[in-house]
Point group: C2
Chain length 237, copies 2
DNA sequence: AACCTTACGTCAACACCATTGACGTGTAAA
DNA sequence: TTTACACGTCAATGGTGTTGACGTAAGGTT
């Protein structure tokens, strides 16, 4: 039997399911995204997705080789949404900042899916486009190829890593999230200044700062360091 | 029945299993770590752990409420190991670099526990000690408190985010991991230079660079940027 | 309009998973 | 020596992803 999946381009016979739904790769991805958004990452199972689609669960295997392939498609969809309407301005620093914040922000919109998919290389169209664009920004800013590639790698991994990290926090059940925020007062606030002088000295600052994501500042630090690596310092400064 | 777990302190009747093993919380945690290290991420299941212990799988539930509780115990052990033998040298840059690489590296050794626990604030002793130490490095390097706190936040989040990110990649089933590595040749290698000129121009560099973690370079970039923020450069250098 | 070919939705089955309730044995305290 | 109960074991439940076989209806061909 070997291949039961037919690539999306060659599909011809769209037969409605018993319950009347007409399946497609796109419909399945969107349904999966909705399922995850509404009922959490653990709600995504083949059987539940089948039920949500109004089809036999195993019908999925006509569209995706396995659940991992489906997950990659979901990840790519998110990457696509992150780039919607973006265009290069010509200023590399502005462009990278914008892309980083967009990627991070878009994953936050689907925390449960992000936690599942942010660490995958999909090799799908939206992802390849993002890679192409970021490399384009760096190369036309004058970074030599080996350096551009290293910076690309650090930049992308940082954006995705923070996205997954912050998404995981958002994806916690509200009670657990609340409790985790309290730890800074409940535990760190009670540490003795003798054993933990530095924590004690900075506690109010700490408790306030840790409420938000560390990404924007980390991104600025990276951009500043990258600027210093640029071969010919532009008049900008 | 409700509580089938007896806290470690109150245990009295240690009965050997059919296969002769005498169970304990400590033995279970260590066996779990060994299982993970030796047979990969997917090897940790209740059944396999039971087999490795020489006990009925469900005997675990006498020691941990569920698998999540077990994983947290395992994670706690890892945090401890990350700081084992570390001491400040007095050079803030060396110290931060060392701590960052240690945290990242230690999580890598136990990927799936890392992926699960790296985004939680535990408030437990090993964690508070790490916070205290990092803040200490920054403050005694002369950073004013508000800046020290922001840097601390970015530094820690980046270390943990990358740790979780890279751990998640390691925790994939071997088949998926293999495939992901191949994507750079199989997909990106076949993109047309007309639609993806920047990818085409840098492909060998890309494929080579993406095999390793982006963290070490990202860390260096952050340290460089932080150095530039330092108020009064000391004679040290 | 009749015919084929086959895509694809469906069904049944498999092997694995975490978790629970009931049970009885053997240990350690009294 | 007795007794209580801790805890290892077993059976069972309901979940998971995935595969192979099957038949139907959709489309292209004639």
């Amino acid at each position: 039997m070997s291949e039961r999946v037919v690539p999306e381009g060659r599909r011809q016979r769209r037969r409605p399911t018993k319950q009347g739904a007409v399946l497609s790769e796109r419909l399945i991805v969107e349904t999966a995204l909705r399922l995850i958004a509404q009922h959490g990452a653990e709600a995504l199972s083949v059987r539940r997705l089948g039920a949500a689609l109004g089809a036999d669960p195993t019908a999925l295997y006509r569209y995706f080789r396995n659940t991992d392939a489906l997950l990659l498609a979901v990840a790519d969809e998110i990457i696509g949404r992150a780039q919607e309407g973006w265009a290069a301005t010509g200023d590399w620093r502005t462009d990278l900042r914008e892309l980083g914040l967009r990627i991070h922000g878009c994953y936050q919109a689907y925390p449960q899916a992000a936690a599942l998919a942010a660490h995958r290389t999909t090799g799908r169209p939206y992802e390849t486009r993002a890679v192409e664009r970021i490399l384009g920004v760096l190369r036309s800013a004058g970074f030599p190829d080996p350096l551009a590639v290293r910076i690309y790698h650090a930049f992308v991994d940082q954006a995705l890593a923070f996205a997954a990290q912050d998404a995981a926090a958002l994806a916690l059940p509200p009670a657990a999230r609340e409790k985790e925020a309290e730890v800074w007062h409940a535990v760190y606030g009670r540490l003795s200044p003798e054993t933990h002088p530095n924590v004690a000295a900075t506690l109010p600052l700490l408790a306030a700062d840790m409420r938000d994501s560390g990404y924007p500042f980390a991104l600025e630090l990276m951009l500043a360091a990258v600027a210093a690596l640029r071969p010919e310092p532009s008049p900008e400064g």
